[in-house]
Amino acid sequence: MGRRGWIGAGLVAAALLVLPPLTGFHPYYLYLVSTALLFGTVATSWNLLAYAGQISFGHAAFFGLGGYGAALASLGGLSPWVAIALGGAVGAVGAAGISLASARLRGAYLALATLAYAEIWRGIAHNWTAVSGGGAGLIGIPPLPTLAWLPVDFTRGRAGSYYLSLAFLVVVIAVFGGILRSRVGLAFAAVREEEERASLLGVRALPWKVLAFALSGLFSGLAGGLYVHMVRVVEPDLVFNRYFSILPLVMATFGGLHTLLGPAMAALGLYLVSELLLHPYVPAFHQLPYALALIAVVLYLPGGLAGLLPGKRSGAA
């Protein structure tokens, strides 16, 4: 990414940092932007997985597992902070599980396996009533507690979950950025581009694929864990919804596949346009931006929005 790109990203980050006081800690707007930030986190984690050549149609599984893991931990008496961290761990384990189970699958076959995996978890959550609460789900999940030791009341109202969403997004971007510059990124790219060739050069693909899934599941699980603490309820049709599988895919490809900031920027843009501009006025069409984004990527923008930047080639960047 060029200098201008970093300056732009810095400005967006600064604006996001001061947004809560600017809105007067307005709960609705903070909820909306928090959700957009969580989508940014899931879209970036989806992109991280795609960087290793693994295409998922089932990120709702990792999001939902994180949501249920965190909800059960919180309802069991653990601190919501610890519960959300546990949600991340559950998401990571769930993702590593499908990676191992589908080790021989690639491309569209792998994508379909992940889609089925999310549906399986939705079915389990619907039917394992003793643990998951069945179709009615679990209620009474506590909100994030305030942190008295913070100099400003950062956890006032929905500001706590807002800043935590922002922190998750910053961390997943930082982790992905670190990966791109490390031997992990080199292995991911090699496995993605030519798995057999990579193997002949000493790269054993399976551990790298599992690592990519686990990292992606970790951040999606963290997002799911925080989300259920924001809405304070968890239901199978809420957190295992295909919405959480398809939207991150659309956001990541529209922002720019394999780019560092594209998925997060696209998530913020698409979600906020959908919820702030369309939902209040033309609710029936509020998902139109996602459809248009997908059409645009398929027909005109193979490199996504990042492909429009000067010096960027289309496709992998």
């Binding site: 031997r183 080199l186 292995a187 790219a189 090699a190 581009e193 030519e194 057999e196 060739r197 990579a198 193997s199 002949l200 050069l201 000493g202 790269v203 054993r204 080639r313 496709g315 992998a316």
Partner: protein, 232 residues
């Protein structure tokens, strides 16, 4: 080696001595690349064994064989197309299990050395899919060398190249031989193999039809028959 009812290789028994260059010849479909795929772990043989440095290595995964010191190139270059030329070479240097460098700087220096050796240093930051055919062949060689193999399987390094490019390949073979590598090479060009090989093996329809010193083998009527067919 059989693919369903088709016997691709039958009774093939080849020994490649250390530090030798052995050439593998044969018309299209004679089983040369199948043999290389077995030796590099990409195919599991339906019968027979592969031995390397006194150890049975049949059915070992490619990454294990790479770790033991077997490197290979492909007839149609298979680089990491969207990665830079530099990263293509860096992969093998980073993930090889022998002669491993802990420091990133050392790995990068070796990648620079390898690219300079094959004449691709000026293209280090280009993407592999931007290279010409000849440059891709050179990148293939650099990638194969990046794991520091002791045995190199070269699959038609000279094919599709201009006469000048073939001369260059002959020079590469000479340099690899000087470095003490053991080379098993498929080539269609008799001229290239006559220059570089210590011994030739000729395959036809999955079986060995001739074997020996280049001068003997290239003049053999059985080899001519395999390439040109029988007179009516």
């Amino acid at each position: 080696m059989a693919f369903g009812g088709l016997l691709a290789l039958r009774g093939v028994d080849i020994a490649v001595e250390e530090h030798q260059v052995v050439g593998l010849l044969g018309p299209n479909g004679s089983g040369k690349t199948t043999l290389f795929n077995i030796l590099s772990g990409l195919l599991r043989p339906t019968a027979g064994e592969v031995w390397f440095a006194g150890c049975r290595v049949t059915n070992l995964a490619p990454w294990r064989l790479s770790g033991l010191g077997i490197g290979r190139t492909f007839q149609i270059a298979r680089p990491f197309a969207h990665s830079t030329v530099f990263d293509n070479v860096l992969v093998g240097i980073t993930f090889r299990s022998r002669h491993h460098y802990r420091r990133v700087l050392d790995r990068r220096r070796e990648a620079e050395r390898l690219l300079a050796m094959v004449g691709l240093a000026p293209k280090a930051s280009a993407r592999a899919n931007e290279l010409s055919l000849g440059e891709r062949k050179r990148l293939e060689l650099a990638m194969a060398l990046s794991t520091r193999p002791t045995v190199l399987l070269l699959d038609e390094l000279a094919s599709g190249l201009s006469p000048k490019g073939r001369e260059e390949v002959i020079r590469f073979y000479g340099r690899l031989k000087e470095r003490g590598l053991t080379i098993f090479a498929i080539e269609h060009s008799f001229r290239v193999l006559a220059h570089v090989a210590d011994r030739l093996v000729v395959l036809d329809q999955g079986t060995i039809v001739a074997e020996g010193r280049p001068a003997q083998v290239l003049g053999s009527p059985r080899v001519m028959q395999a390439y040109l067919g029988e007179d009516e």
